[in-house]
Symmetry: C2
Subunit: 337 residues, 2 copies
């Protein structure tokens, strides 16, 4: 048995199971120290990996006869579809057979599975979904990006710790700067939630609080961890996606306006392609669900094999860096009663 | 005396008083039906307009010896600097000497002046700052963009009405579609505030509620009025500014990467310039402060003469369209209690 065992929901995502299995094979070839447990219909998965003789012995199959669909009620699905590929993969973490789980299935279901199958790290108020995004100067983590609305200050206080532990131990940022999303830079700015959170973050000693992060500075890269209530985080995430599309649509429209700019657009195409790649989810991997008792990574629903490979690599690094253990031990430094 | 009298804070903004006075002269030349009351140091302003003989007689001067600076505490400044150009301009509205006031001064001070000098329309819970922004298909209003944090559902309910009245009577949108910023399109999505607001908006008959507006659709132009808590609205506004800068910086970086893309960038320059202009505050004017008992427009701090001219035109349209009266009479259709 290898050093790291990672459970993979083979049936989650738009391109399952083909892209998922292909991503698993790629990851196995790249990382000699991992084993992968594929959760899904046994016979079908067996047939899919039969040809991969070089890594076949490092693949385990966890039979699962059901699939959680994208449009199902997450809570209900997780409760009733006990034999779904996602639940089976998460159970492997719960039961200690794997240290990590990766799924490209429904976000809501991954959250529910994380909470109720894998379970929280003792002391964690709320697990948070925390994608790593491409800032101008460097990558940064947005936590929470939508798992928890109506947050309390103590949740946000912990998000700062969880994000800091991740950036330090997975992405090797020496001393992650943690910013609190707010509508002004001064301590007294903001709403009730941010004012109270600011006071708590200032007092703690578990991470480097760098003050309020004005919304205009979220993507500059001046912060390594950007903390927000899940409602605001989700608004930022979705608005980013929407605005980038709108700006590029406007640019396309204006560029088609004259022959000169049309030629310019054709010549500049490689630059546009690079931007697209820079902003692309597939190169970044997935979003970790932090605060649960295992390395759980939610890959994007549209993930191809490359994204799955990256999400597996990310889960592997989370285990290697002992993110779960370090969150657990860091909680005591937050000194909130 | 002309049909519309507009008070102008001659000393507010980065380029005051020169750009402000120049903007006033331009507006007077363009609109024969307005008079302008310039608030500021009498002798200095008199000298500045002395040469404009064609419009001189339509300019009144309200002497004001103080200026509210950008870094002052808004509440304190508005209370203590009774002879400041902003307070004097707002008092003209309060006293019925003008129907509108325009200022490019500190946003916080304009809000405080609107609330405590001009006063609320009876029945309005909270005035809101509501810029009109360039969407992909059409312009839309973002209300509230930062005047009120920790909003209650009934505030947001009224924001929908105020925005709808403005878009209909100032920008001639026949039946403005009002959307509620949320993290999902279904009625049951969101946090406590948006869920309760959704229920209220669905019941009212004062405007066309078009459901939840997911953050990714804010700029598409599918909604004419986008309603949000002031914290979220401000996050959206500032993040838009920040992200646009980051994306264009990334694009510039990538375009400098090769000779081919450099040439492309040079040829495409006019298209970039058009986008910049499309996104530019100066062409749009200012943000109305809706819910106060007069047509109050906050022009951008960096406004040049063109932006001031546009903000005056906007204030004029607000008076012409009787935005204040229509908000007052529309409140009864909200039936919230």
């Amino acid at each position: 048995m290898s050093q790291y065992v990672i459970a993979l929901d083979a049936m989650g995502g738009d391109h399952a199971p083909e892209a998922i299995v292909e991503g698993a094979l790629r990851a196995l070839r790249k990382y000699a120290d991992i084993d992968i447990l594929l959760a899904g219909p046994e016979e079908r998965l067996k047939a899919m990996v039969a040809g991969a003789q070089d890594v076949r012995e490092r693949i385990g199959i966890l039979n699962a006869t059901q699939v959680i669909e994208m449009d199902e009620s997450p809570m209900l699905a997780v409760r009733t579809k006990k034999d779904s590929s996602m639940v089976v993969a998460m159970n492997a973490v719960k039961e200690g057979r794997s240290a990590a789980a990766v799924s490209a299935g429904s976000t809501g279901a991954v959250l529910a599975c994380g909470m109720f199958r894998v379970g929280r790290i003792p002391g964690v108020e709320r697990p948070a979904l925390a994608p790593v995004l491409p800032g101008l100067k460097n990558r940064f983590m947005l936590i929470d990006s939508g798992a928890n609305v109506d947050c309390q200050p103590k949740y946000l206080l912990q998000f700062g710790l969880m994000g800091s532990v991740y950036m330090k131990n997975v992405l090797d940022v020496e001393q992650p700067r943690v910013g609190l999303v707010n509508i002004g830079s001064e301590a007294e700015k903001g709403n009730k939630l941010t004012k109270e959170t600011y006071a708590l973050m200032e007092k703690q000693t578990g991470y480097a609080f760098a003050g309020n992060c004005e919304a205009r500075d979220v993507f500059t890269g001046d912060y390594d961890v950007v903390v927000a209530d899940g409602f605001d985080g989700n608004v930022i995430l979705k608005h980013t996606e929407g605005l980038a599309n709108v700006l590029f649509s406007m640019l396309r429209e204006e560029m088609m306006g004259s022959l000169r700019t049309k030629i310019g657009a054709a010549l500049a195409k490689p630059a546009f392609r690079k931007i697209k790649r820079r902003m692309d989810y597939n190169t970044v991997g997935g979003a970790p669900l932090l605060g649960v008792n295992g390395a759980v990574v939610k890959a994007h629903g549209s993930s191809g094999a490359e994204a799955i490979e990256n999400a597996i690599a990310q889960a592997r690094r989370m285990v290697e860096g002992d993110v779960v253990g370090k969150i657990r031990s860091g909680l005591s430094s937050l000194c909130e009663e």
